[in-house]
Every structure is written in structure tokens, then in C-alpha cells.
Symmetry: C2
Subunit: 328 residues, 2 copies
């Protein structure tokens, strides 16, 4: 059984909860089927995040206003796409979902921190996120900055905690990979390039580089981290890295296409926002037809990268198809 | 030989570089001698931070504007007090300075990130830091947010890198301790309490709790991290924890006293700022005499906590005396 949940990129608003809510109410905002497994996994990830952010796991007793803000930023829906990739890639090596949940929760904390900081008035100045006021509007700007800081820090606390994995070498590799993917040479660097790019015309290679950092690095990490948890050998590690990189590119390109062609009613969010804000997108640089062709190639290449895993990769193949073919 | 460098708390402006500069110019801003070893160690820490932030160590190629901002936030002076504590505490167990520098650099990255974010308009809205415009004024607010994020992330990248320590268990313990000290239950939580407290009258216990989180946690971690690097046994670990906790309290209380009694000319910064901003300080809550008495007790207790280390702790004892007795 397929389930219907919206899926959008790091850069755009995420309306998973919004879409689900409206679907239940019969609005039918989303129509594309996504693997049912994503929805099932998201529920487990949600629970684990709830445990961390309510003091059931990890230390209790942080200041309540900050804790509330961190819960607001993380909980309450979302398809948990990056955790899903981590869990599925770990599953290729026989790692049980339960044993990948902590690393997955840490990754989602980093993703959510980046959304909170990107939404700030000094950054993208967004008012809505998942159909709710952004954190700095729901609380205040200082609390939003601190909540983002707290979530980024919590991610490394989770990864460094022995319960995340019994082998400190595995925990260290997870933390190192996450720091590189999220830091100045990864996601934070990409956001910096994106801010610099506003109002400029970037070349195609510059756009690719920006997107590889801003959204690609964390998606690639999600896949690689699954391999780290599963103690993947060198060639499997490289296959996951390649899959993650291609999937990340497809994910972003599909999002850029939807920003141009998407139906606002179906999509449940404003289209044309990136172009209007002078954001550099590959669709503008390549043209629609070339962008669609590239997306098809990326999907095929991502699926081909999974060849070494044979039938075990069926869910990941389905996910790659969904990511590139969704129409909303 | 003693050297003269200003020393102030996390919460206030830090004028180490400012003071040194003016001293050289004959203004005589600083008069209290501090252990020469702090100055010598600071130079080594500065070099290691420069190596990390210029790509000599770690990955090269982050976006230049962000990298520039991160260098601006970290380099160019400062007494590197937290790294000094880490290095000296590690030295109690025979760890060479060279082998503690990476962990020390990571700690300083977290301290500098916190200064950058605390200075933001939405937070304390400070215009000057170490005698220069704060990062958000020298660059822009978005870059300041990202540079802070980048520095926090870089700290965990450094700690997770094998060159920091050969034993992944040690690296993991360093990262876990830092995350707890810096996160929602530590420094970030303390900053949240501090923001909430503006304009309110806190009780003495509330002020102690706030300060324990905001400035105490990272100073305590600096001492404990030295023990982790030195694979300290249980009782030594507890002694360092106790020393760090007491030193952190003395550090903050001395700073609060100077805010009331300090000579602006000698101090090189504005006094009465905390009181004026409605910040909760122990001096206001206890009164001057009781605060001075408490500071004396804290100094004595901190030094007593070092008893297990005998003569090896001479520099740390000197440091504790300096921290509580400085007059500017």
C-alpha cells in the first residue's frame, strides 16, 4: 500500500504535516504515492525524536522555553526523509531499524536546525514551515537562534552517546561524517553561497556546486551513515556515496522543476518562489527540457548505483523513482 | 615572568587583544599579572586555530566569505583561557601540549561561536568584541549566524578526527562532554535563561543555576576534558570536575564584581553594563561584602580541589588566584 505525503527539498517549505492534515480532511492536496515504508519509518523516527526532546532519552532538565522551542522545531510531522534513507541504507547490511534510530534522530536534528536558521529574518525570512508559523514567529528570534544551536549540539550528543552504537569507532565515523556534511564545507557553506548568489546569475557549475553543498551533502551523508552503521566495506561504501550524491541531485532538481511547473493547489505551497527571489536554479540555467532530461538520467544512475545490493535495494529503488517522478 | 592580559567572562566583552595593544602603546590598561604560561599557550592555540581555519589542517575549500567570517570570529587574539585550562589539566597526567591542542582548538571554536551568536541583534546586540566591530557588523547578520553554526560544527569535526586522539573512545568522550556542556542543558540553556531573565528579579539560586549553565559548564568541561585526554581515573576526574565548577563560579563572580567596582580606564571596557541591562548578577543579589567573601571561599575551595595533584598543579593554582583576584 502506498501512502500520500508531500516531499520537498531542504530549501523549500515542507508541508508533510500540512498535506497529511488536509488529505484527511478531504482536500486531496497530495496525489503521488510514496513508499508506505517511508510513512512507517517516519512514525518510529518521530517517537525517538520525541523521546530525546522530552527527556525520556538523554539528559532532562533543560530550560523549558528552549526545550519547547526545540520540540516545536522538530516534532509534529514531516516525512523524515533523511532518517529514512539512513535506516534503509543500514538495512542493506542487516542493521535493524531499532539500531539505526538514534543516528537517524541525530541527522533529523541537524536537518531541523538548518530549517530554523534558514527561516530567520536575516536569512530567507520565511513565515511558514510545515503549515505553521516559523519558529522565530511562534517564539522569538533569539529563541530560534538558540533552538537551532541546541539541535545542532544535540545531534552530536546523540551520536557520541554509547547507546547509539556499541563501537566508539562507528560513533566517531558517524560524527565526523555529519560534521563534514553539515559544516562550512557542506550545508552551512551551501547556505552561505546561496545568500551570496541572490540577485546574481550563477553559471551551471556554480549552481551544481551550491546545491551539492546546501542539500546534497546531508542526503549523501544519510546514505553513507547507513553504511557506517552497517560496517560496509569499501566498495559498498562507495556505492552508497554515489547513490546518495545522485539522489540528492535528483531531489533538488525535482524540487526546482516543481517550483516552475507545480500546481499550487496540488502542491500546497506557493510556486515560483525561488525564481522570484532570484535564487539560482538549474531549471533556469538549463531550460525545462534539458532539466527534465537530466532528472531522468539522475534517476537511472542513482538506481544503477544500487546494483551491488541486488533485491535488497528494492525499497531504495522505489524511493529514487518517487523522488524524481513526483508531480507535487 | 608575568604577562599582562585582560581576562573577562563569556558574558562580557573580551578585550584581551585590545588591552595588549593599548599596553604596547603605553596606555597601561592592564595591571594585574597573569601566569606567563597562559600567554605562551595562547600563541600555540592561536596557531592551531589558524591551521584549522585556513585549511592547513582539515578540509580546504569552504566558501571564502564564510571562511573569512569564521577566521574573523576566532583569530586575532584572546587569551584562550578555556584551551589553557584543558591543556594544563591534561598536563597533570603527562599529556604534552602538542597532543592536547586539537581538543583545545575545538573547545575554543565553541566558545567563539557562542560569542558570535550572543552578540547578534536578536540576542545581546553588542557592537564591539575584542575592540573590533562584532561579526554581524563587520560582515552581516546572516553570515554571523552561519559562521557561528560553522564553528560549532567544526568543533565536533575536530573532536571526531583521528588526529585529535588515537583512541576513538577518548574522542567520543570529549565530544559527548562538549555537547552536554554547550547544549540545551549547558551553555545554550544558560543563554536562554539569561534572555528570559531580563527585567526580572531572580533569586540567588536561580542566578547560580543560570551562571552554572551559561559560563560554568564550558569552564568545567575544559578541566574535565583535560582529564579525559589524560585518561584520568575516577577520583582524579571528580577532582577536576570540582575544580572546574568552582573556578567557573569564581570566574563569573569576579566578572560581576568588576562590572560594579572596576575602573573603566583600567578595565578598558564599560562598567555597570550588566546592572544597567537588568542582567541578574550575584553581586546585586548578595551585596558587595557577601560577594567578596564568597569569591574568597571559591578561590580557596578551587585550590583545595587540586590537592590530589600536589606540586604538579602549581600553574593551575596560580591561575585560580589570578582569576579571582584580578582587579581589571
Amino acid at each position: 500500500m502506498g501512502a500520500v505525503v508531500a516531499l520537498s527539498s531542504h530549501g523549500g517549505n515542507e508541508h508533510g504535516r500540512f498535506a497529511q492534515k488536509h488529505l484527511l480532511e478531504g482536500y486531496g492536496v497530495c496525489v503521488m504515492k510514496m513508499p508506505a515504508r517511508i510513512v512507517a519509518v517516519a512514525a518510529r523516527v518521530e517517537q525517538r525524536l520525541t523521546d530525546y526532546l522530552s527527556g525520556v532519552r538523554g539528559p532532562a532538565g533543560p530550560p523549558e522555553r528552549l526545550a519547547q522551542a526545540m520540540r516545536y522545531a522538530v516534532l509534529g510531522g514531516g516525512k523524515r526523509f533523511r532518517p529514512f534513507l539512513l535506516i534503509e541504507c543500514a538495512g542493506l547490511f542487516g542493521v535493524k531499524l531499532e539500531n539505526a534510530l538514534d543516528a537517524a534522530a541525530a541527522l533529523e536534528c541537524v536537518h531541523c536546525y538548518s530549517l530554523v536558521h534558514d527561516d530567520l529574518p536575516a536569512m530567507d525570512d520565511d513565515a511558514l514551515r510545515r503549515g505553521r508559523p516559523t519558529l522565530h514567529l511562534a517564539f522569538d528570534e533569539a529563541t530560534a537562534i538558540l533552538a537551532g544551536d541546541g539541535l545542532l549540539t544535540l545531534a552530536f550528543e546523540i551520536l557520541a552517546t554509547p547507546q547509539t552504537h556499541g563501537d566508539p569507532g562507528v560513533r566517531g565515523a558517524l560524527a565526523l561524517g555529519l560534521a563534514r556534511a553539515a559544516g562550512w564545507g557542506g550545508m552551512a557553506g551551501g547556505q552561505s553561497l546561496d545568500l551570496d548568489a541572490e540577485g546574481k546569475t550563477l553559471g551551471i557549475d556554480e549552481i551544481r556546486h551550491l546545491q551539492a553543498l546546501k542539500t546534497g551533502a546531508l542526503i549523501e551523508y544519510a546514505c553513507v551513515a547507513g553504511g557506517i552503521l552497517g560496517k560496509a566495506g569499501g566498495s559498498d561504501h562507495m556505492a552508497l556515496e554515489r547513490f546518495g550524491r545522485l539522489l540528492g541531485r535528483a531531489f533538488q532538481l525535482a524540487d526546482d522543476l516543481l517550483d516552475v511547473t507545480g500546481d499550487e493547489t496540488k502542491l500546497g505551497k506557493e510556486t515560483g518562489k525561488d525564481g522570484g527571489a532570484g535564487k539560482a536554479t538549474l531549471v533556469a540555467a538549463l531550460g525545462m527540457d534539458a532539466a527534465r532530461g537530466e532528472l531522468e538520467r539522475l534517476e537511472a544512475e542513482a538506481i544503477a548505483a544500487l546494483d551491488p545490493f541486488g533485491a535488497r535495494a528494492a525499497t531504495l529503488i522505489e524511493t529514487a523513482r518517487f523522488v524524481s517522478r513526483r508531480e507535487n
